[in-house]
């Protein structure tokens, strides 16, 4: 099923997409897809930028600011837009002012814009290698499903037990940590970098943040650190869950046995 006549270099297509969403597909000779992808990814990012007044990096505490601090945020997935945001808005003017009411929603959108572009990069890489692929769930769609709900990608692939186990382990880890820490981890302003890891857990983390709100810490929370670490670990582990779902669908679409994993015998 692999394409014998590749349209372009997968690495070039991936890097182009990283800088400008859709550019990789333009390079691969698919201008319409490139335009739609550009509008979608940049639309989500710019909406977030508008809702935050471009102040998403301003919430970083002064002592943690550096030229490379924004590179440790989920926005990094959309490098061009992130560099635009950094150069245009940076860490703000320094004058104290109230955050916009839509600050948290906006930051979730700019971060999601980064995730979307990473998935688009993976699609550009796949399309450059195998444009004539077998039908079935696309690899990046399976990965996105895992971001929406950990394990959902595996369930859609027919691997129900695996998907359910992944969901229970990761959402359980996150829920226990968050409960014991009284939700202290659910705030990007309080834990900028850890929030970035936790964001990878996807919708469950955002939903918890939405229903819990962003209450000020007016008392000592004994398990504050535990909540931060467990939330972040759950999010980072979900990246592996996304990779697992991606790899399975990719193998099926290019005609390989998906059960030949990273360590199994016969791996090409």
């Amino acid at each position: 099923m692999q394409n014998k006549d590749p349209q372009g270099d997968p690495t070039v297509a991936t890097l182009l997409t990283w800088f400008v969403p859709g550019a990789g597909h333009l390079y691969l000779g698919r201008p319409l897809f490139a335009l739609v992808a550009f509008l979608l990814v940049e639309g989500v990012y710019l909406l977030g930028l508008w809702l935050t007044d471009g102040r998403a990096f301003e919430i970083l505490p002064a002592e943690m600011r550096s030229q490379f601090a924004p590179f440790l945020a989920p926005e990094l997935g959309n490098l061009g837009a992130m560099l635009f945001q950094s150069s245009r808005f940076g860490f703000g003017t320094g004058a104290p002012s109230v955050w916009p009411d839509t600050m948290n929603l906006g930051m979730a959108l700019t971060s999601f814009g980064g995730i979307l572009n990473v998935l688009l990069m993976s699609r550009a890489h796949f399309d450059a290698r195998a444009s004539k692929a077998a039908p079935g769930l696309r690899p990046e769609a399976a990965a996105l499903a895992c971001w929406v709900l950990p394990g959902l990608g595996q369930i859609l692939q027919g691997r129900r037990l695996r998907g359910i186990l992944m969901f229970v382990m990761l959402v359980g880890l996150f829920a226990i940590g968050t409960t014991m820490g009284e939700g202290a981890n659910l705030d990007r302003e309080r834990h900028y970098f850890y929030w970035g890891g936790q964001f990878m857990l996807g919708v469950p983390a955002l939903f918890a943040e939405m229903i819990h709100g962003h209450a000020p810490l007016d008392h000592e929370v004994p398990y504050h650190d535990l909540a931060v670490v467990m939330g972040c670990v759950a999010g980072l582990l979900n990246v592996l869950v996304m990779v697992d779902a991606y790899g399975w669908s990719e193998s099926l679409r290019i005609g390989r046995d998906p059960k030949h994993g990273l360590t199994a015998e016969g791996t090409p």
Partner: protein
């Protein structure tokens, strides 16, 4: 040693998730993943325990004030 049993329980919980997900990533075949999980989990827990032991010993000796 505050709340040692609670911390141990939470560690075992987190280690189950860490080893479970990494095992599933390494072994796409569910049957093989099920087989290798207990050994990988035990290895992770014992190795982490050894590291913790060294840190505690250092805390009471070289790094003690």
């Amino acid at each position: 040693m505050k709340d040692i049993w609670l911390h141990l329980f939470l560690f075992l919980l987190a280690s189950t998730a860490i080893v479970g997900v990494t095992t599933m990533l390494a072994e796409p075949n569910d049957a093989i993943a099920r087989l290798v999980f207990p050994r990988r989990w035990l290895k992770f827990v014992l190795t982490s325990g050894a590291v913790a032991l060294v840190m505690i010993l250092l805390g009471y000796t070289l790094a003690s004030i």
